[in-house]
Every structure is written in structure tokens, then in C-alpha cells.
Amino acid sequence: MSRMRGAAAIVGIGQTPYYKRGTSPEPELKLALRAITAAAEDAGIDVRDIDGFVSYASERSDAPKLMPALGTRECSFSSLVWFHGGALPATLNLAAMAILSGQAEIVAVYRSMAETSSQRLRVMVAQNDTSAQYLVNGLDSPAQILALRAQRLMEYHGVPQSALLATTQASYYHAHNNPHAYGRNIEITDEVYANARMISEPYRLFDCSRENDGAACVILVSAERAKDLKQKPAYVLSAPMGTMEGGGALEENWRPYYATAGQKELADRMWRESGYGPKDVDVAQVYMNMNAMGIGSMIDHGFFSFEETGEFCTLDNLIAPTGRLPINTSGGDLGEGFIHGMGLIPEAVRQIRGTSTNPVPDAKLSLVTGGPGDIMSSTALLGSEETL
């Protein structure tokens, strides 16, 4: 069993409200400070004692800028994880490694974004790494590039539109009960979904994640230290990152997998490291830059095959409290809000604590998947003390 398994736990969570993109009353750095201080308070930790800072992708609220306002006594570890949203769960891997190796004792994992402090999320996330091969041919946005994958998933592998609809409806169903969800008042009837404007075929508006201003943070400490803090710990059982040969920066030349999320071997490694399998998972926060990619993620994780997707992905199966696999129980990237996926980790923790607004009764194993289709990705399984 991996030395990483259960070595660290999430003991604090903090979030700002989700604002409509471009309307945050506060700049990006201040949002980061709000989320980090809220997470420290939730954990019962003096914010000045945080000594590790981990984020991912194009995050700009770096430790040196945060330290003076947090009163940080000593920063002993700070790092970004490559790559885009794929790096989200891997932040937990990096934080746990820093703790396990003694480089830091209290690590804040966070992401902050405010469009007025930077630029449009869908531009910012690309980090100017979109090659000429795409841009010359009218392809810019992740929505378009992931639409190519979705078209293959549906037309070639036979995944039905109803599966995409079910993931969207499940997300908004959960958002409805979450007072913090930006999309809580939107009801996605079959008609609303089908009549929404097309973005890049086969994606319509409600197949796509939101773009919001906001920040979120989780705080990790060693398993030993977690026992003495005030919240029920969510242990990191496994949070591998990676890409296999045939994946990565191959500009639509992925082989042998193209239409799923590029997470198959990654997920297999997570099951091996954690000692659990897909049937053991109580609840999943599935990163949905686009809903079909999230379906690809669930296929890669072994929840169902291409052929089983239509039968598995129904509204009843995907919602709390009694669905076969309740997903995105805060509303997720589609219904709650989107700050590059960072809202998914706090919700995975709330499920273990029993404080989600859509609780899965007695949830012990809580999954968070990383950006599907990203050129490098990651996935994480969190567990309660009984799962260690």
C-alpha cells in the first residue's frame, strides 16, 4: 500500500460566494485571502501558521503576495501543479507529499479568479498554449476542442444525448438545494435543455460549465494532527496525477483513447493505491468542463462502459440521496459555479462530514475527478476514518 494513503487529511474548507464573471466586488488576490482565512477558521487553525501554499494552472495569487496579508510566519513550501483543470485533485497529492516529507505542516490548496483582475476564464485557462494547428482552423475554446471529443463519444461510441441531459439535470437538481449555487434558480426541463443555444455542436449552453469569479480553499495537515482539530477529517487515500504514452500534448492525436477523459490508467492507479474500486464509491464530484467529458471520466473510472452509459446515466441514478452514483451534489461545475473546478473539493469534504446540502447518508468514500481531456490529469479519493 502506498505511503501516501491516509497520510494527510483535509481539515478546513473555505469559499467566497460565486459571482457572475466580471462582477466580483473584490480583486482576485482578496478573494484568495477570503477563502484561505475562511478555511483556517473552519479548521480552527491560526491562519498565520499556514506554511505551505499549493495551487494549479494559471493561478496568480501566489504565496509571496498572500503572505503579508495572512501574517504568514514562514512559508516553507509553495508550488503550482501542471496543467489546467486536470491538475485539480493532484494539488492534494502535492500537499500530502509536502506534509509526508516534512516540507510543510499546514498546506493551503486554493484557486482564485476574478475576470477583471485577469481576463476571460476560457482564455486564461489556455495559458497561451493553444497551437497554431487549432487557431488557424477556427478552434480556440475548450468548448470547441472538447466538442470534437464529444462528437466522437456520441457518434462513434454510441453514447446517447439522454446521458448528457441527465448529468446536466442532476447538477441543477442539486444546485437547487444549495443556497450558494449560482445556478440554483435555473430549472432544466427537457425543453429548456433542448432549446438552449448551440455553442459548438454537439454542445448546447447547459452542457457547458459556468464561468464565475470566486475563490475556494482547503487546508491539509498530517493525519496525526488532523485528529486533534475540530472538524471530521477527510483523508486523502490516493490522488495520482499523470498521462500515459499516447496522451498528452498530441493535438487530437490521442491513441488508443480519444473520446473519454484520458484518465483510465490514472484511475486504475488510484484504485490500486486506495484499495477500493468503483463499486465502493458513495459519492462523486465529477469535473465537468463539459458534461460529455465528465461522462468520459466516469467511463475511465470504471463506473460503466460505453454500452452501459445510457442505462446508467439517468437522473434517478445520479442524484442524492439514493442514486447509484450521486454526482456533483453541490451543483458542480455546471450548476453551482466554476472557479476552474476548485468548488468540487470542498463539496467532496462536506459529503464526508455530512454537511452537504444534498447529503449522501453515511458517505465514507468521496471521489473528486480532475479536468477530463486535459493533457495531464489527476483524480482523488477521499475517505472518512473508517476507510483507512
Binding site: D129, Y134, G138, Q151, R197, S200, L250, E251
Partner: protein
């Protein structure tokens, strides 16, 4: 006189595909073939990961293939606003049997009926224009 694309260089990503654009601007579709193991290295890179060679021969490829996947863009996205008057437009990923199944992208031109994965397409090489960010481009037409 240099090449148009060299004066409008798009930075980012691997940046080993100058030979592709140079050939396209000269009116030819060429992909890099490793001089060591003869494998097609696509997208173009600086070293062959299979045999370790640093040398590639830019090799003519017949501009015909099959549709691997496709999307119709229905919105003018930020960094490709040059095409806003063309919305909706279809971009294809095309598999080239002449290069061991390497996939290249390109916009679909002409009659769109019959567009489907597996459909046969033929490429037409277009000179640099504002719409293609002053790069040359290959456009694909469904074979009837």
C-alpha cells in the same frame, strides 16, 4: 521574402511544425517522418521518442483521408474572431491513411450534407489570409 506565417508567428505549444506550414504555403501537404525509424512523428516534435533520432524528413502526403471527428462552431470565440462572419462553420479532424493515420485539422468547405465520422474527404490548400491568421491552411471537401 520570407513566409507569411513566419511574420505572424503564433507562439505556444510544441513549435516544431514550421516545416508543415512552410510546405503548405508552398502548396504541398507534408508531414515529418523520422529518418531513423521511418515513423510519422505527428504532431511534429524535436526528437523521435521511439528511436531517439533528431532528424526528420518532411514528406509529401496525399491530401485525402477520412473524418475522424467534427464540430460545428456556432459562436464567435475570442481568439478566432476573424471567422465571426463564417459562424456557423465546421472544423474537422481528418485521419490521413497516407501518414499511418496521423490526424490533421481543417475547416470543411462546400456541401456539408453527408458529414459523418468515416466520410471521405479531399483537401484543398489555401494561401495565407487574415481569416487563417496569415497562415496557410488546408480546407476539406466531402468526396461525392
Amino acid at each position: 521574402m520570407g513566409y507569411s506565417f513566419e511574420q505572424h508567428k503564433i507562439i505556444g505549444a510544441i513549435e516544431a511544425d514550421d516545416g508543415f506550414w512552410r510546405a503548405l504555403e508552398d502548396g504541398k501537404l507534408q508531414l515529418p517522418r523520422c529518418t531513423g525509424c521511418k515513423g510519422w512523428t505527428w504532431p511534429a516534435h524535436h526528437r523521435c521518442g521511439q528511436c531517439g533520432s533528431w532528424d526528420f524528413a518532411w514528406t509529401d502526403v496525399e491530401p485525402q483521408g477520412t473524418v475522424f471527428t467534427h464540430t460545428r462552431s456556432r459562436y464567435a470565440f475570442d481568439r478566432v474572431l476573424e471567422r465571426k462572419d463564417d459562424v456557423p462553420y465546421v472544423t474537422l479532424v481528418v485521419e490521413l491513411p497516407g501518414a499511418d493515420g496521423a490526424r490533421v485539422m481543417g475547416v470543411l468547405t462546400g456541401d456539408e450534407s453527408g458529414l459523418a465520422i468515416g466520410a471521405q474527404v479531399r483537401g484543398h490548400i489555401r494561401p495565407p489570409s487574415a481569416k487563417t491568421k496569415h497562415y496557410p491552411a488546408i480546407e476539406w471537401e466531402l468526396v461525392r
